[in-house]
């Protein structure tokens, strides 16, 4: 079991170093590459924590599509980040305070991987049992996702749909903007 912990520790350390590199860097392309690497390592981490479906999603959605979107957007944006003049004291302080609270509370959290923790005793066994008996699907995650908590997934589909519609509404018609945009303004002029 110690080896599992070692693998975890290793991956987490890599993620930490990537995150620190992210703070340091000011080049946009490097930021994007590092974010992608971060997502990929996170996906690996999910695998070691037994969350294969999540790893699948993180690898394809988090690392794949987000990176491509970042790259696509990056093409039209300034390539470097400017050093800010204002002090970063308050943000650092508030992050440290929040992190302190979290670490303070972590002593009362159930230890990682203990079967006796309430999280593993309360609802989850029902899913594991039910997936076989009520639904008859080997992949418990799918049965929870699509049936037990199908409504969440519905909401999530709607979130994706919302984002799609929103981005289309915001970006799509930039090509013809010049013509379209002048029309309402002329009208306004007439009225005024």
């Amino acid at each position: 079991m110690i080896s599992e912990l070692l693998i975890n520790a290793f991956l987490v350390t890599i993620m930490l170093s990537i995150a620190i590199a992210l703070i340091k860097t000011r080049t946009v392309i490097f930021t994007v590459i590092l974010t992608s690497a971060y997502s990929l390592v996170a996906a690996l981490m999910f695998i070691t924590l037994d969350a294969v479906d999540v790893a699948f999603t993180e690898a394809s959605v988090g690392a794949g599509i987000s990176t491509i979107l970042f790259l696509a957007a990056m093409a039209y944006l300034p390539q470097t980040e400017e050093e800010s003049i204002s002090s970063e004291f308050i943000p650092v302080l508030s992050c440290i305070i929040l992190g302190g609270i979290l670490i303070w509370c972590s002593f009362d959290l159930p230890e990682i991987g203990q079967l006796t923790a309430p999280i593993h005793q309360h609802v989850a066994p029902e899913y594991i049992k039910g997936s076989k008996e009520d639904i008859g699907i080997p992949n418990i995650v799918t049965s929870v996702l699509a049936s037990y908590r199908g409504y969440d997934t519905f909401g999530e589909t709607i979130v994706v749909f919302t984002a799609g519609v929103a981005v289309l509404a915001l970006l799509e018609k930039k090509n013809t903007t010049k013509k379209n945009k002048s029309q309402p303004k002329q009208k306004i002029r007439k009225n005024a």
Binding site: I119, G155, A166, A192
Partner: protein, 496 residues
């Protein structure tokens, strides 16, 4: 068929705008997409009225989605508390949709109108889902639906003024951070208890006194929602977002968006954590009460110095949210009821004010600032009249809805904490008269150039209805008051 409808009413209320939004996006015609939107908001309103009647009979409806018994599946809970925001949201959104017909095509590119209406419905559906759900994580999903849709709607104001983009961006980032904080909180609670169902959560945290993770989880949850509800120090996204959004969108958001989050705050404070009294009492006394008082004054003072009218109203919203949280913070049955009364009344007041201001903006074709308003009162008598009535209501003059809420709030504060709170509330109300008077004075007293030719009746339907509501609920408040007291009863029961 009616059986099915009645049985599934809780979900149908949410589903109606949600499913319609999927169809609306496919209709390119401006009129038909508007008509479908109006139809679905109307149906939603109708269903919520039906639901209200159901609630009067059953008093508590639990709807298990997918027929899975609650801790396993997701549950919808509708009781006498939840029905208040449902009615507010569906009613106001119906009025706002009618109002949008003329305004929307003027302010947004014609090509994207159907998408905007789709987002409009999604925002409404998200808010309704937020209110009805009884599952902590499902709440997050609907929170995101509503906030992504509202962000996009705010950003559509960029056609008129580019600052809308920055406003929308800030709204998005701050909202997303808030939502993520909420998720951390839910995660900590889930790690402790193993459940996400709110009712189940209440039972299972009962024996976790002074658990540090519980306290932290509570803190993160409440802070996350407070960001969405624009409670005082976390309100910075609100004024800009409301000011630069397209007019119809400001009406919708100002009247509904924060109400849902405020309701969630009430739920978290008094329902989910009802068993950890110490924690809640301390939070109310040392966090929410001071913040509310600060909000009341800071919002009002900001409003007094503001010259952009939409922003002014947004700052005033911050102050009014302060009243509502103050009512929660006092924590007695009467005060919570007062909070709900004010939630309802504030929705109709702010709705009316924003409709009036944006229809003025619609005529003068520029941003509504204090300098641009001169003399408009005489040119637009109906609008001006409605605006004045709504302002009186906001200031809390007798015979208006605002008076009722102030009355109950002051009564509740006197009976619990003594006179000083009541005095503070009165002072802040008096201050709110200052900025309202400023506007009215400019509109009526000053001379201005003639711009407006004729008032367009289509815009006035909503305005007149909402002003009428303001007066009506000032004269006969029994419906609202009874409903709110029922809600408060349900929330804190016989505890206090």
């Amino acid at each position: 068929m009616i059986d099915i409808l009645i049985k599934n009413l809780p979900i149908i209320v949410v589903l109606c705008p949600l499913m319609m939004s999927l169809f609306v996006v496919l209709i390119p015609n401006i009129f038909f997409s508007w008509a479908l939107t109006t139809l679905s908001t109307f149906l939603t309103f109708l269903f919520s009225i039906l639901l209200y009647q159901e609630i009067q009979i059953h008093s508590h409806i639990s709807y298990a989605l997918g027929k899975w018994i609650p801790p396993i599946g997701i549950e919808y809970i509708i009781d006498k508390v939840a029905i208040i925001p449902i009615i507010i949201i569906s009613g106001i959104s119906f009025l706002a949709t009618i109002f949008a017909y003329k305004i929307m095509p003027e302010e947004i590119e014609k090509k994207s109108i159907s998408k905007v209406y789709s987002l409009w419905l999604l925002a409404i559906a998200g808010l309704l889902g937020l209110v009805t759900t009884g599952d902590a994580f499902n709440l997050f999903v609907f929170l995101e639906i509503s906030s992504l849709a509202s962000v996009a709607l705010v950003a559509m104001g960029a056609h008129k003024d580019k600052q809308a983009l920055v406003a929308a961006y800030n709204y998005l980032i701050i909202g997303a951070v808030g939502a993520t904080l909420y998720v951390i909180g839910v995660g900590l609670l889930y790690g402790l208890t193993g459940t996400l169902n709110m009712a189940d959560l209440t039972n299972r945290i009962a024996d976790l006194n002074n658990n540090r993770a519980l306290i932290a989880g509570f803190g993160f949850m409440i802070v996350g929602i407070m960001v969405k509800a624009a409670v005082f120090p976390l309100h910075i996204w609100l004024p800009r977002a409301y000011a630069y959004a397209p007019s119809a969108v400001s009406v919708l958001l100002a009247a509904t968006a924060t109400k849902a989050s405020l309701y969630i705050i009430a739920r978290i404070l008094f329902s989910i954590f009802e068993n950890s009294e110490n924690l809640i009492n301390n939070t109310l006394l040392f966090v929410i009460l001071p913040l509310s008082l600060l909000a009341m004054f800071a919002g009002t003072i900001m409003a007094i110095y503001e010259k952009d009218i939409k922003r002014l109203l947004a700052h005033s919203s911050v102050a009014q949210i302060g009243y509502i949280t103050l009512a929660f913070a006092i924590g007695t049955k009467a005060s919570i009821a007062a909070g709900f009364i004010h939630m309802f009344n504030h929705a109709i007041i702010k709705g009316g004010l924003f409709i009036a201001i944006t229809s003025i903006g619609f005529y003068i074709k520029r941003r509504v600032t204090i300098n641009n308003l001169s003399g408009l009162g005489r040119e637009m008598p109906i609008t001006f009249f409605c605006f004045v009535l709504c302002s009186l209501s906001l200031a809390g003059l007798p015979l208006t809805a605002g008076f009722i809420s102030k009355l109950y709030l002051i009564k509740a504060s006197i009976s619990s904490d003594g006179i000083w709170l009541a005095i503070l509330i009165l002072i802040s109300s008096a201050l709110s008269v200052v900025y309202l008077w400023k506007i009215i004075e400019v509109m009526w007293m000053r001379e201005g150039k003639k711009i407006v030719k004729k008032e367009n009746p289509t815009i006035y339907i909503s305005l007149i209805i909402i002003t009428f509501l303001n007066i009506y609920f000032g004269l006969d408040a029994s419906l609202v008051v009874n409903g709110s007291f029922d809600a408060a009863d349900r929330l804190i029961g016989d505890l206090k």
